[in-house]
């Protein structure tokens, strides 16, 4: 039976690049997938593109391509990534430019477009999933809308012999499912096979999170060589059975426990994981260790795909101002609390929609009730964050924190502050037919 080896070269936009190079060099893989697009990233990228029509793709695209393009061309590895962000066409042009600069030729770089549904969603009478209100109520606060596209257009790009495929918003597992559908000729309605392929995609989409990243807990879960964590490889057979592994000698490990954590990561009902391709059922998945760093995955199934596609809507959400200051030594906590009182009074009259104080080291993560501690800490860091529709008002927060140097309690130090524009993400469901992906090929 034929096997396909797919590598995962990134689990988020800013991920390490050297593990991807290692995969391209030593992974004996046929496809290298980079998942780089978080929920909010594309809305920020859409805004960047409004200012500069050649921008809007992943900020590390150039660095990644320079690192892996030559190796992949030499080793016959095809690259699939959502690094196109809000501008897959510009990403493809940039990749062509890099390929030429590297002296490569004969490469086909595809851009997959069509996920931008801003115009459709803006006036389409759609409903916001989170609170049931009409999309129209967002008015000009709505920045963008991007639909989660499935594997189909990537499969088509592979059929058009693309060596590099750059997409915008695509469901993460679909990036991995596409080469399986293409190479094995899986039917778009063989739900069980698509379910199996989707589980493989889900296990790989966060890269290092299945090879021992985000896992270590000293004394309980010790992971070897995390500084040189290897990224995962899935070896998938034509019948959908799969094995998760990594490059021999790389850091980390692949175990039943790492696979179990990643299988359930960000999953709600494990019997119904919805993607544009299939309703996947993870509930009967079993992991078996067939060797060191070799975990067999079986038992995934699938049912028909949903009729609607999810679209993420980027919404302007005002400005967040933040400031922090530290206190240490005897009475650190009391001085931080006094600083908090002063700030609450100073900020009371400003037009802030929300304001939040935390004592880092005391209660900032889980609040007072879950954070009960008996000892007095040597150091405490006060943090204040607030939101305003006005940038000028939000900026008062870091200013007031800085003013504590000369106007606040004794011994404050290490002030940091920032004011940033925020984009919130809401979602809506749109008919599948309203999304029409297109493929554009750049020849090198």
């Amino acid at each position: 039976m034929r096997n396909l080896r797919i590598g995962s070269g990134a689990g988020y936009s800013g991920d390490r690049i050297d593990p991807a190079v290692e995969l391209a060099q030593k992974g004996s893989i046929s496809h290298l997938v980079f998942e780089c697009l978080a929920e909010r990233t594309i809305a920020l990228a859409q805004k960047a593109r409004l200012l500069d029509p050649d921008s809007g793709y992943d900020p590390l695209l150039e660095e990644r391509m320079e690192a892996v393009l030559g190796l992949c061309a030499r080793n016959g590895v095809r690259i699939i990534s959502n690094m196109g962000g809000a501008n897959p066409l510009a990403a493809a042009r940039k990749t062509r430019e890099i390929a030429r600069r590297l002296g490569l030729s004969g490469l086909r770089v595809a851009a997959v477009t069509g996920d931008d549904v801003t115009a459709i969603v803006r006036g389409g009478g759609f409903t916001i999933c989170e609170d049931g209100s009409p999309v129209e109520s967002l008015a000009d606060r709505m920045v963008s809308a991007n639909a989660y596209v499935g594997a189909e257009p990537i499969v088509e790009a592979l059929q058009q012999k693309a060596d590099v495929i750059l997409t915008g918003r695509v469901a993460d597992p679909s990036l991995f499912l596409a080469p399986l559908i293409h190479e094995f000729g899986w039917s778009a309605s063989d739900w069980n096979l698509l379910g199996k392929g989707t589980v493989v995609g889900h296990l790989l989409e966060c890269a290092g999170q299945v090879t021992g990243g985000y896992f270590a807990d000293p004394g309980y879960k010790d992971v070897p060589n995390l500084a040189h964590l290897g990224f995962p490889i899935a070896e998938v057979a034509e019948d959908g059975s799969a094995m998760i592994t990594k490059v021999e000698g790389s850091g980390g490990f692949v175990t039943r426990a790492t696979c179990s954590e990643q299988l359930l990561y960000e999953i709600q009902d494990p019997t119904a994981y919805l993607t544009p391709d299939v309703t996947a059922d993870f509930s009967q998945v079993v992991f078996d260790e067939i060797g060191p760093d070799r975990i067999r995955v079986s038992g995934a199934r699938g049912r028909p795909r949903p009729n609607t596609l999810k679209a993420s809507i980027g919404v302007q959400d005002g400005y967040v101002g933040e400031g922090q200051i530290s206190y240490a030594g005897p009475g650190a906590r009391q001085r931080a609390e006094l600083a908090r009182e002063i700030l609450a009074e100073r900020l009371r009259h400003h037009a802030l929609q929300e304001l939040r104080f935390d004592l880092i080291g005391i209660n900032s993560i889980h609040g007072d009730r879950l954070s009960r501690t008996v000892h007095e800490p040597h150091e405490v860091r006060l943090r204040v964050a607030g939101r305003s529709q006005s940038q000028r008002v939000a900026a008062f927060i870091p200013r007031e924190v800085e003013a504590l140097y000369t106007n606040g309690p004794a011994g404050g130090g290490g002030v940091t502050g920032s004011t940033r524009e925020t984009i919130a993400i809401l979602s809506t469901l749109i008919p599948r037919e309203s999304v029409v992906p297109a493929i554009h090929i750049e020849e090198v």
Binding site: D217, Q268, S283, T422
Partner: protein, 99 residues
């Protein structure tokens, strides 16, 4: 004994939802998790942080439970003013629960 002695956890997020997987180190401890770590107890553990009862899904073939927690809409990943806007540290707080 606290949960950390027999199980490990990973936290994920989707908007204002937080998901926590709880996985028994040893298969034979799964029954204890299933019996003791009910949705009600987890709701109680995180009281004040959530706006709806916790949902629990059982995965006996993995020896795992999966919890879905609903935070206030204003505390979704992209809106929250919290230091840990994702809620990624919540799973570690679950491991502090007595069993």
């Amino acid at each position: 004994m606290i949960l950390r002695e027999i199980a490990h956890a990973r936290t994920g997020d989707k908007g204002s939802l937080v998901t926590i997987s709880l996985i028994a180190y040893r298969r034979e401890d799964y029954a204890l998790l299933e019996e003791r770590i009910t949705a009600e107890r987890v709701s109680e553990h995180f009281a004040g942080l959530l706006v709806a009862p916790v949902q629990r899904y059982s995965l006996p073939s993995l020896g795992a439970l999966n919890f879905v927690l609903q935070r206030p809409l204003a505390q979704s990943v992209t809106r929250s003013l919290a230091l840990d806007a994702h809620g990624k540290c919540l799973g570690s707080a679950l491991l502090a629960m007595q069993i």
